[in-house]
Each structure stands twice: as C-alpha cells, then as structure tokens.
C-alpha cells in the first residue's frame, strides 16, 4: 500500500551542528507536505509546510526541500539546539479530502 516513511528512526547530532531529517513518500498525487515536531507528552507541533509546486521553503532555522522526481523531502535544522530534541514527522496531504498521513517519525537527540 502507499505510505509515508522515514529513512532513519534515530538521529544524534552535536549542539550547533546542522541536522537533516529525511522522508520518502510513495503517493505521487500528494500535493502538500508538513513537518511536525513532537515532544514527549505533547501533540505534534507544526514546523513548516511546502506545496508540490515548490522545491524549497525556508523558515526560521529550518528549511524543507522537496524532490518530486524521487518522492523525497527533507527537513534541515540549522545550528541545532537542545530544545530541538524531539520526534519529527513528515505528513502528506493527498489530493482528495485534505486528509493527512504520517510516517513513523525520526527521533532527534541533540548532544550538548
């Protein structure tokens, strides 16, 4: 079946380094993607989104890249801080009904 998945379940980075979290999706009809951050005991928090007519979108310290050719998107976090430690999910919205489908998530640990 079609799914959204992540390449790596865990990622550890040194404080101050850049982090890259990857996500593969299989539904070529998906036209909108969101990255969420989920801290322990909390609901997913919106970080940044991107539409399929874009290749790149930048926010504060975060950049999302979308490669539609290989159905891959990534979240780049610049100068990673301890507060960035969390599980990161990519979610895709397919072209019917505005439903969001989530991958398994990547656990990011920032080492001080």
């Amino acid at each position: 079946g079609e799914s959204v998945g992540l390449h790596l379940p865990t990622l550890s980075v040194q404080e101050g380094d850049n982090s890259i979290i990857n996500c593969a999706y299989s539904n070529s009809a998906s036209d909108y993607f969101i990255w969420y951050k989920q801290e322990s005991g909390k609901g997913p928090q919106f970080i940044i989104d991107i539409r399929s007519n874009m290749d790149k979108r930048q926010g504060q310290r975060v950049t999302v890249l979308l490669n539609k050719t290989v159905k891959h998107l990534s979240l780049q976090i610049a100068a990673t801080q301890p507060g960035d430690s969390a599980v990161y999910f990519c979610a895709e919205m397919r072209d019917t009904g505005n439903q969001f489908y989530f991958g398994t998530g990547t656990s990011l640990t920032v080492i001080p």
Partner: protein, 113 residues
C-alpha cells in the same frame, strides 16, 4: 489565539469498559480530525469531519469506535467496548477549509488494562 483543547489528558480503564474523549477545535476551523497514535508510531487518521459532516472514516473501527460533531464545533470520540490494543494517545487536530496548517491538541493518553 487559543489552540485545540482536548480532555481528559489521561484515562485508565479496564477492557470492555467504555470511554469518551472531547475536543474543541480552533475557532473558525471547519475541519476536525481524530488520530490514534500508538507508542513509537506516527499518528493514524481515524476520522475527518468538515463542519458536522464526515469526510473520511474509512480507518475508524466502527464496531467499537464512534465519533460525532453535532454542531460543527466540538467533537467527541467514543470507544465501546475498549480492548487492550486501544491503548494509545488520541489526538484531535483542526484546520481551515484548505487543510493547511493542521494544528493538534495535547492528546488524551488512554491506557486499557
């Protein structure tokens, strides 16, 4: 701006009992979602409402789960009877009609023993 409110935060019940969760979405958001998040997994969509109508409930186990959004604002999700495998965090989210920037509540952590 107030976020998505959910209650209760935690609930422990015995199997075969019933339980209900409540969600109040962001004011003005027409679309409301209920997700189930099992430990270590991503959220799984259970049901989506647009105003008071169901858009998608294809993944809702209808033999035991039910949800309603009678006035197009608040929503309740019920499980009756609960099974051990229903232990999870139940997340409510809301979004505008375009579906962009779906915002989540804190979730209700359900433990079935």
């Amino acid at each position: 701006e107030a976020g998505v409110a959910q209650s209760p935060r935690y609930k422990i019940i015995e199997k075969r009992q019933s339980v209900a969760f409540w969600c109040n979405p962001i004011s003005g958001h027409a679309t409301l979602y209920w997700y189930q998040q099992i430990l270590g997994q991503g959220p799984k969509l259970l049901i989506q409402f647009q105003n008071n109508g169901v858009v998608d409930d294809s993944q809702l186990p209808k033999d035991r789960f039910s949800a309603e959004r009678l006035k197009g604002v608040d929503s309740t999700l019920k499980i009756q009877p609960a099974k051990l495998e229903d232990s999870a965090v139940y997340l409510c989210a809301s979004s505008n009609l375009l579906g962009t920037e779906a915002f989540f509540g804190q979730g209700t952590r359900l433990t079935v023993v």
